[in-house]
């Protein structure tokens, strides 16, 4: 039983790591129906930027809490800037192109960004400083839950709630949903499409940055390739939960995380990804729109 619970916990942690990235993924998809392959790269770049600024601040002798705050804020700002620029450069010109064309530019961008970071910084793994402060109240259970894991769980939940509220109740959120449903109509109603899409990308990239800083702190090392793997898993999780659906992304991530964890624990970690992907395929056979995704009936 204890073994089961431990596996469950590790599944939850893994799931919430996926969720942090999947949230941004699913949000961008929900608004503009684009699989933003470069999302994982934004996550990677923000981790690097946090690392760079943290090192600089450390060198100037700032204390750890201030370093954490400043470095992660800068990472978020830069991620937003990168997200904004990428959208303007590579996706906006393709707004009216066939559906697969933005996918190709996303893949191309992904390659460019990976190699850009590799050349500008380094190709090997870089240790990432543990920016997250130790929480005193966690000391008694530190063998079960790291502070970083605790923070990831908490922040995933908070981000999910805020995002749901923003999209459901605020003016910009309503505009986003309008754009998602019918871009043409939204435009006719006076919504500035370009502005809404930019905002979507900026929010999505900020989420990637939050994920980048937290996950990098948790794992303790980064290289230019981490975005790719994390991106694919997050994408899987987002689809599992019903792509475009915010709580769905979290649920999908948790299910994915737990599946992998139990597969490792009870079968073999050799086939952990096989189980993860098999569960997705199975689910999609019976519920092609994902767990929480809305069924889109085609009107005949």
């Amino acid at each position: 039983m204890e073994y089961f619970l431990e596996l469950l916990l590790s599944g939850l942690i893994r799931g919430s790591i996926y969720a942090l990235i999947a949230l941004g993924y699913t949000m961008v998809y929900g608004i503009i129906e684009l699989i933003n392959f470069a999302h994982g790269e934004i996550y990677m770049i923000s981790a690097f930027i946090a690392l760079i600024f943290a090192s600089v601040l450390n060198a100037y002798g700032l204390n750890s809490l201030a370093t954490f705050a400043i470095a992660s804020s800068l990472a978020i700002v830069y991620a937003a800037a990168y997200g904004f620029t990428l959208e303007k450069l590579a996706y906006k010109p393709l707004r009216n192109a066939p559906r697969l064309s933005p996918l190709i530019s996303a893949i191309g961008l992904s390659i460019v960004l990976q190699n850009y970071v590799m050349l500008a910084q380094t190709s090997s793994f870089v240790p990432f400083p543990n920016l997250i402060p130790d929480f005193a109240f966690l000391n008694s259970i530190s063998h079960i839950l790291f502070p970083s894991e605790f923070l990831i769980l908490v922040i995933t939940t908070i981000v999910m709630i805020i995002l749901t509220i923003v999209i459901k109740y605020t003016k910009i959120g309503k505009a986003m949903r309008a754009v998602a449903q019918d871009r043409m109509m939204a435009m006719l109603l006076g919504i500035n499409i370009n502005y809404i899409i930019s905002v979507t990308f900026i929010i999505g990239s900020c989420l990637a940055a939050i994920g980048g800083v937290l996950i990098a702190s948790h794992i303790g090392q980064i290289n230019f390739f981490i975005g790719f793997i994390a991106g694919i898993k997050a994408f899987t999780a987002a689809v599992l939960g019903g792509i475009g659906n915010i709580p769905g992304a979290v649920l999908g991530s948790i299910i994915l995380g737990c599946t992998e964890s139990f597969a490792t624990g009870y079968v073999s970690s050799d086939y952990e990804d096989v189980f993860a992907f098999a569960i997705l395929v199975l689910l999609l056979i019976f519920r092609p729109e994902g767990i929480l995704g809305k069924k889109r009936d085609q009107k005949v």
Partner: protein, 393 residues
């Protein structure tokens, strides 16, 4: 040439990029010694570079506005003149006698990717089923040959139909669960399929020899005659070339046949397609199976060409490159796919001189091509059924 306003705009853009690249380009940290290097001159380069590129783009856009639309669509909807085809044919045949083995080898790879692109085109371009796991079929073909040869000594030429059959079966196997899925969901499931196949190759040591792969796979023979290592490259080149011709011929036939039109109709509108009496299940499965067949055959050729295979050759990136060939070429267009395959495969090879920058240039060219030609390099050529056969009453 440029107004002050435009120059100012470009200047602002370059400033923005200098800001954007500042932390990664300027601050170089060394995690081992905790030392920090400030490389301000990189910032200058970024600034100058983006300023020039931005001006160039502006220039291009200004020029394009003046041009008429028909000029812009220069390639689209036009049949390629016979003279060009003949020249191309001639060139492809004398190619191995003009260039060194290395170039022949690279060109063979490009030819193989043309076939792969054309095969994937059946699934993605014609039937409209997004597939991100095409490399799995490629892997099945390669491993079929390697293993059949290892265990039963089956030769290259016999392995080709067997691998084609096995891949087609795998295609149907993948096709069944995804019948109801469309678009991005299909993409993720095919991606999963590709990954699952690769993981099985990695983990099932007893069957596949695991990650260390299978080496010393025999190269193709010519009616039992073995070629010298030098000549075999040329021989494989001609096999690949033969496959390209065969595939173009077949895909062209398929495209303009009953089944081909049904694929396209399925891509356009599933519901209308069913209402016209087209069997959705059969049509989708046949697209998956036929598309996979070409990948299977190329897999055999790949194994025979490198003489060594391991799961690392069949990663997700491989599928992505194959998909990019189809999309960049212009979905459904055969000549477009040929050009895209040549660009995507030859470019990184010949960009080697650029060293570390080659992958950046490669990625950038993908983005640039798709932005300037969002429908792919070459549009679909319409089939005129004018000159077809007389109706025998």
């Amino acid at each position: 040439m440029f107004s002050f306003k435009e120059i100012k705009k470009s200047f602002l853009i370059s400033l923005w990029f200098m800001f954007l690249t500042f932390p990664l380009m300027v601050i170089k940290i060394n995690p081992e010694t905790h030392s920090i290097l400030w490389e301000w001159k990189n910032m200058l380069w970024v600034g100058i570079g983006t300023f020039c590129i931005s001006l160039l783009v502006r220039f291009y856009q200004a020029r394009n506005k003046k041009k008429s639309l028909s000029k812009k669509l220069f390639f689209a909807d036009r049949k390629i003149p016979t003279s060009v085809i003949v020249a191309f044919l001639f060139f492809s045949i004398i190619f191995p006698f003009l260039f060194s083995n290395y170039h022949v080898n690279i060109m063979t790879t490009a030819l193989m990717y043309i076939v792969l692109g054309l095969g994937l085109n059946i699934i993605v371009g014609l039937a409209g089923l997004l597939n991100l796991g095409y490399a799995a079929f490629y892997a099945i073909g390669a491993y079929s040959y390697a293993l059949l040869n290892y265990h039963f000594g089956i030769g290259f030429w016999l392995a080709i139909p067997i691998a084609a059959l096995l891949s087609a079966l795998a295609g149907i196997l993948l096709g069944f669960p995804v019948l109801r899925l469309r678009g991005d969901y299909l993409a993720i499931v095919t991606l999963c399929f590709g990954t699952i196949i690769r993981l099985i190759l990695e983990n099932w040591d007893e069957l596949t020899f695991g990650p260390s792969g299978i080496s010393q796979i025999p190269r193709p023979t010519f009616f039992g005659i073995e070629f010298s290592p030098h000549n075999v490259t040329t021989y494989i080149y001609f096999i690949a070339l033969g496959f390209v011709f065969f595939t173009i011929f077949m895909v062209n036939r398929l495209k303009h046949s009953k089944i081909g039109r049904e694929w396209q109709a399925l891509r356009e509108d599933e519901i209308a397609c069913e209402a016209m009496g087209v069997d959705k299940t059969k049509t989708k499965l046949s697209a998956f199976a036929l598309g996979a067949t070409w990948a299977g055959m190329m897999g055999v050729l790949f194994a025979a060409k490198t003489t060594f295979i391991n799961p690392a050759s069949f990663t997700f990136i491989e599928s992505v490159i194959m998909l990019s060939i189809v999309v960049l070429g212009g979905m459904g267009s055969i000549s477009g796919i040929i050009i895209a395959a040549l660009i995507l495969i030859l470019l990184p090879e010949y960009l080697r001189e650029l060293g570390n920058y080659r992958m950046i240039v490669f990625g950038l060219s993908m983005v640039v091509i798709i932005i300037f030609k969002p429908h792919g390099l070459i549009g679909n050529v319409k089939k005129n059924y004018k000159t077809d056969y007389d109706v025998s009453q």
